[in-house]
C-alpha cells in the first residue's frame, strides 16, 4: 500500500516535469517565425497553478523552480525572474489548497487571476526598475488574459487525463480512500 502511494506520487512528480518539457518543446517548434500581434497562453504557468491548488504534493517547489527555470532558459526570458516569482506565488497557493477546495471554482479562478497578475506585473515592474527593456505591454496583458482563459481547460484536462483532482476529505495524498 505505502509502496503504491510512493510510486504514484513520484510518477506524478515526473509527469509534471515531463509535461513542462513537452510544453516548452511545443512552443519551440518553428512554425511561427513572423511576429504576431497575439500571444498564446502560458500553459506551463496554468498547469503549475492548477496542480498547486489541487495536489501540492505533485508539484513540490523544487520541481516548479526547475521547470520554470528551464522555460526561462529555453524561451529567452530573463533567467530566474519568472521562476522566482512563480515559486513564491505557488508557495502561497499551496497553503490555500484546503480553503479553495471548500469554496468552489469561482474563488479558485479569482485566486488564479490574482496569481497570474502578480507574476506578470511583478516581473514587469522588476524589469522596469532594473532598466531591462520590456516587451510591449498590450501583448503581455493579452497573454495573461489568455492564460486565465486556458486555466479551466488545463484543470479539466488534468482531471480527465491524469486524474489530478482536489483531495477530498478522508483521502490519502494520491486520492485513494483511507477507509
Amino acid at each position: 500500500m505505502a509502496d503504491g502511494i510512493a510510486s504514484r506520487l513520484w510518477g506524478m512528480r515526473l509527469a509534471y516535469l515531463g509535461l513542462a518539457v513537452f510544453i516548452v518543446f511545443c512552443q519551440l517548434v518553428p512554425i511561427e517565425t513572423v511576429p504576431r500581434n497575439w500571444a498564446a497562453p502560458d500553459f506551463l504557468l496554468a498547469l503549475t497553478f492548477a496542480w498547486s491548488l489541487r495536489r501540492p504534493d505533485y508539484v513540490p517547489l523544487f520541481s516548479i523552480a526547475l521547470a520554470m527555470l528551464f522555460a526561462d532558459m529555453m524561451l529567452d526570458r530573463p533567467p530566474g525572474l519568472m521562476a522566482a516569482l512563480t515559486v513564491l506565488v505557488c508557495a502561497s497557493l499551496q497553503r490555500r489548497v484546503f480553503r479553495v477546495r471548500d469554496e468552489g471554482f469561482a474563488t479558485e479562478l479569482l485566486l488564479v487571476a490574482v496569481s497570474i497578475a502578480l507574476v506578470i506585473v511583478g516581473s514587469r515592474v522588476i524589469l522596469t526598475v532594473l532598466f531591462v527593456p520590456t516587451p510591449p505591454l498590450g501583448l503581455t496583458l493579452f497573454m495573461g488574459v489568455m492564460t486565465l482563459a486556458a486555466y479551466p481547460i488545463v484543470v479539466f484536462l488534468s482531471h480527465l487525463v491524469l486524474g489530478v483532482r482536489a483531495q477530498a476529505p478522508g483521502q490519502d495524498v494520491v486520492g485513494r480512500s483511507l477507509t
Binding site: 512552443q27 517565425t33 513572423v34 517547489l61 530573463p78 533567467p79 525572474l81 516587451p135 510591449p136
Partner: protein, 299 residues
C-alpha cells in the same frame, strides 16, 4: 482529520519555508547576476540550449514537417486563385528575365574588363532552422550549426534572397539568429536609389520601420534597402527588402527574405568582424586610431 492536517503542517512547515527561501534566493541571485554580467549568463544559456536542442531535434523534425504538410494542404483550397496569380506573375517575370539576362551579359562584360575577382571571403555555411524563440516577445531562430562549424557572433544570416538577421549566441552545436524583426535588432542600411543611410529598427512587427534618415522625402515606397556595412558588423550590400509606407505614413521595410517559412539559412562568413575582447568593448568598440595612439604612448 483536522488535527492530522495541523500536525502535518507543524512538521513540514519549517522545512518548506527553508526550501522556499533557498529556491527564491538562488533564482533571484541568478537573475541579478544576469542583470550585472549578462554575457556570462547568456553563455550559460547557450550551453543549456546546446545540450537540450540536439536531443529535441529527433522529435522536432517530424512535428515541424507535419505542421508544414498541414499548411501546404490548406493551400490546396486556394489552388485556382493561386494558379491565376502565378500566371499573372509569370508574365511580369518574363519581362524581368529578359532584363536580367541583358544585365547579366553586361555585368559579365564589365567584370571581364575590370578583371574583377569576387571576394572569396564571402562564403557561407548553410544551417537548418531547429526552433523559433518560442515566445511572442522575441524574434529569433535556432540553427543546427555552431562553434564546431566555425560560426562566430555577429555574422549575417540570409535565406536565398535577403538578410534575415545576425548570429547572436553560439553554442558548440547550435547558434541563435536574432531576426531583423526582433525588438533589439538595429541594422545600418542604405537606400541605393537616393543614397540615404538609415537604420532598420526591429520593433516586434512583421515590417520593421526605418529611422534616422537624413531626408525622408527622398525615399519612396518600392525603393530597395540594402545593408550599408557601417559599424563593421554586417557586410555591405546584402539585400534587406523594399520600402513600404504604413497607414500612419511611417516608412517600413518589407523583408526580401521569406520570413514566414524559414527552413534553411545561410550564414555568411565575414573575415573581419570587430571582436570584443572584453565585456566593456561590447558597449563601444575601440577605434583603431585610439588603439594606435595608445600603443604609441605605451611604447
Amino acid at each position: 482529520m483536522a488535527r492530522d492536517r495541523g500536525n502535518a503542517e507543524d512538521y513540514s512547515g519549517p522545512i518548506k519555508r527553508l526550501v522556499l527561501t533557498l529556491l527564491v534566493l538562488s533564482l533571484t541571485a541568478l537573475f541579478l547576476v544576469w542583470r550585472i554580467d549578462s554575457p556570462r549568463v547568456e553563455r550559460l544559456r547557450t550551453a543549456v540550449i546546446d545540450q537540450v536542442m540536439p536531443s529535441f531535434s529527433w522529435a522536432m523534425v517530424p512535428v515541424t514537417a507535419t505542421a508544414n504538410l498541414v499548411r501546404d494542404f490548406q493551400s490546396y483550397a486556394q489552388l485556382y486563385e493561386q494558379n491565376q496569380e502565378l500566371r499573372r506573375e509569370l508574365q511580369q517575370m518574363k519581362s524581368w528575365k529578359e532584363a536580367a539576362l541583358q544585365l547579366e551579359q553586361e555585368n559579365a562584360r564589365l567584370l571581364d574588363l575590370n578583371n574583377v575577382r569576387l571576394d572569396p571571403a564571402l562564403t557561407y555555411v548553410t544551417g537548418v532552422v531547429l526552433a523559433d524563440s518560442g515566445s511572442p516577445f522575441r524574434q529569433s531562430v535556432l540553427l543546427n550549426i555552431g562553434g564546431r562549424d566555425g560560426i562566430r557572433d555577429g555574422w549575417a544570416a540570409m535565406d536565398g534572397l535577403g538578410l534575415v538577421g545576425r548570429i547572436s549566441g553560439v553554442g558548440e552545436r547550435t547558434s541563435r539568429v536574432v531576426m531583423l524583426t526582433d525588438a533589439s535588432s538595429r541594422v545600418p542600411a542604405v537606400i541605393p536609389r537616393s543614397g540615404q543611410t538609415a537604420l532598420v529598427i526591429g520593433d516586434n512587427t512583421a515590417l520593421p520601420p526605418i529611422d534616422f534618415v537624413e531626408n525622408p522625402q527622398l525615399i519612396r515606397p518600392g525603393d530597395r534597402v540594402v545593408t550599408s556595412g557601417d559599424g563593421g558588423v554586417l557586410p555591405a550590400g546584402l539585400v534587406i527588402g523594399e520600402v513600404v509606407q504604413d497607414a500612419g505614413g511611417r516608412l517600413r521595410v518589407r523583408m526580401a527574405a521569406d520570413v514566414e517559412r524559414l527552413e534553411f539559412l545561410r550564414v555568411l562568413r565575414a573575415s573581419e568582424t570587430l571582436k570584443p575582447a572584453t565585456a566593456g568593448q561590447l558597449v563601444a568598440p575601440v577605434l583603431s586610431e585610439d588603439q594606435d595612439t595608445a600603443e604609441a604612448i605605451d611604447g
